[in-house]
């Protein structure tokens, strides 16, 4: 179970040829061809990736250079999440503190959560040493400058959770709790009770069948059910980005990612429609009334 902190300038998998020979992520196991590329253009790719978005998240999608190479963010290989996203990812100061965080994914026999690494001045210095050791000086200098620019451009935005919550009815009557006086919904409770079965279905790696319905802009509505299970049909309103229009009106195969018991079954979708990837749908099954 290797967990590696990759340096910022580690080449990103801009093409499939830069991927490791094998990778297992949760339910997904895939063999990737070729060896890791060591070409300079890929190193430069990673630099170009990080600089314009110094304050944000590196764009996995931007790695797509050619239709044959596909995106680095492939759901059918990453049902356990972004196993291919092994390069450095800028995530900004997500917890409100100033600083840079580097999320790093390593390929291992099982999916593991990313590791957050705070780039302290010491860490930064070590990385600079690493740069100068492994890269031509000009690349190291460029990386240094880019990091400095990124640091200067960061304006941390703290994550706010409300500390004052006022709950009322539409008539203005204050409520102690949002759910005060409501009757439990039997159907929803039943649906929640089905979640373990859905996970069982998921553990058999059957996935879900989904009908990709109406698209809204670049999203979609998906109707899904778990084959072999009664009453696990569900309607999922999903309007996530980058769904292919070719998938509309087609049946697609959905992957899954079981969530916590009280949060429904989250699903990732990939398609068998038209022989193309249909990344990505992502939603929660919560409707017990579907056929």
């Amino acid at each position: 179970m290797a967990r590696t902190v990759l340096p910022l300038w580690q080449p990103l998998p801009a093409t499939t040829s830069s991927l490791p020979r094998s990778c297992t992520c949760g339910s997904c196991r895939g063999a990737f061809p070729a060896s890791r590329s060591n070409q300079v253009r890929n190193r430069l790719t990673s630099l170009g990736q990080g600089f314009p978005d110094g304050r944000g998240v590196a764009l996995a999608g931007r790695l797509q250079r050619h239709p044959d190479h596909r995106s680095a963010f492939h759901f059918h290989r990453v049902l356990g999440l972004v196993c291919q996203m092994r390069g450095p990812v800028w995530v900004g100061a997500s917890d409100g503190r100033s600083g840079l965080y580097l999320e790093s994914f390593s390929h291992s026999e099982s999916w593991e959560r990313p590791e957050n690494v705070c780039l302290t001045p010491t860490g930064l210095r070590k990385m600079m040493v690493y740069v100068s050791r492994w890269y031509p000086s000009i690349i190291g200098l460029a990386a240094t400058l880019a990091i400095v620019v990124s640091i200067l451009s960061i304006r941390p935005v703290p994550q706010h959770k409300p500390d004052r919550i006022r709950i009322t009815t539409a008539s203005g009557r204050p409520l102690r709790n949002f759910f005060d006086g409501l009757k439990p919904d039997a159907k929803l409770r039943v649906n929640l009770a089905h979640l373990p079965k859905a996970r069982e279905c998921g553990s058999r790696k059957q996935g879900f069948l989904a009908h990709v319905g109406r698209m809204l802009g670049i999203g979609a509505v998906v109707h899904a059910y778990c084959p072999g299970l009664p009453c696990m049909a569900c309607e999922v309103d999903i309007d996530y980005t980058y769904c292919h229009s070719e998938c509309v009106g087609k049946w697609a195969l959905l992957g899954y990612k079981p969530g916590p018991a009280d949060q429904g079954l989250q699903m990732l979708a990939y398609s068998l429609c038209n022989g193309q990837d249909c990344n990505c749908y992502f939603g929660t099954c919560n409707n017990p009334d579907c056929p």
């Binding site: 314009p52 978005d53 110094g54 304050r55 944000g56 998240v57 590196a58 764009l59 996995a60 999608g61 931007r62 797509q64 963010f73 997500s94 451009s153 935005v157 994550q159 706010h160 959770k161 409300p162 500390d163 919550i165 006022r166 709950i167 009322t168 009815t169 539409a170 203005g172 709790n177 949002f178 759910f179 409501l182 439990p184 919904d185 039997a186 159907k187 929803l188 409770r189 929640l192 109406r214 698209m215 809204l216 802009g217 670049i218 999203g219 509505v221 999903i238 996530y240 980005t241 980058y242 229009s245 509309v248 009106g249 009280d262 949060q263 429904g264 989250q266 992502f282 939603g283 929660t284």
Partner: protein
Amino acid sequence: MFAGKMFGCLAVAALVAPVAAVGETPSLVPSRASLTIPYSLDGKRVPFWTGNSLVVEQSVLGVASPSVLVFDSSGTQVLSATLTIPEAAQTYVDGYARSADGSIAACGASYASDGRGAPFIALISADGNAERVIRMEPYWPVLITVAPDGTLWTVGYEQNANRSEKSGVNLNASVLRHFDRSGKPLGAFLPRSSFRNPVELNRHHGYLLTSADRVGWFHWLNDGQGAYHEVSPAGEITSYPIPRLPSLKTDLMVDGVAMPDFGDVFVSMRDAGLHEGYFVFKLDRQLGQWSQTVLSGPRVAGDFAVLWGSSGSDLVFQLPSDFRTNTLRFFAPQR
């Protein structure tokens, strides 16, 4: 912002919508540099362009406390906030809107783990530290917008606790409603019974817009039916048929509706099953008709453009070639 300038719009080379001769059809031309959001929208729910900013739901559907990021029109992240409903196990937000003061309005429904649930309208303060949650049952809002005066407009309909209309529901209750910020009703329009198909009231089939002097609701069905309703400051409502595609062979898909500051209404639509025939229409209120306009700009590989909304007098589009780079482009009518 840095990236936005870097990837600014470079050339006006070809037409995106090859539907009419340019000389005959008014066109929308790039009006300012494009904007690259410094945050990957890949895999995220389709964001909301509202209140001159982009509201991105950071969390996935159905979490207990959804969180949002807000980017202003320069691409700077200005807010990261969490919608918190105590004891909620799942909270579904159907719509977000940002008001002029920077606060966020949201509508949706929240459920406890024992199956209790109710619809809500929530208001998150501009600093994210205060929140007001208004329980709205039996009215379940699915679309929300904030008028310049801070009042709230919603589209929704009454349902019982099982989210059904089969019993205990007033089918003559209005679907388009106006509230003050405490949830007090200020107005209601269009009875539920005037809509034959509840799909028209689905959030996936409607856009709710606001400008300085009017509120508009655009809704449609797959077969091309639908309407655009506008409420004037005097409380009068005017309805228009939606534009018709020259030939609708599969299903109508509306890729966005926007109402810029100068008051016109634009809609981006296409035939979902075709790879040609993408249209932008503008409403002529006097004639009660929609006229076609074309989008000029960098040539793209795709066959449509998503209309995210308006920013001042600009229309905000995203072209398929920009999906992966999170780039938005701004257009304005050619003068």
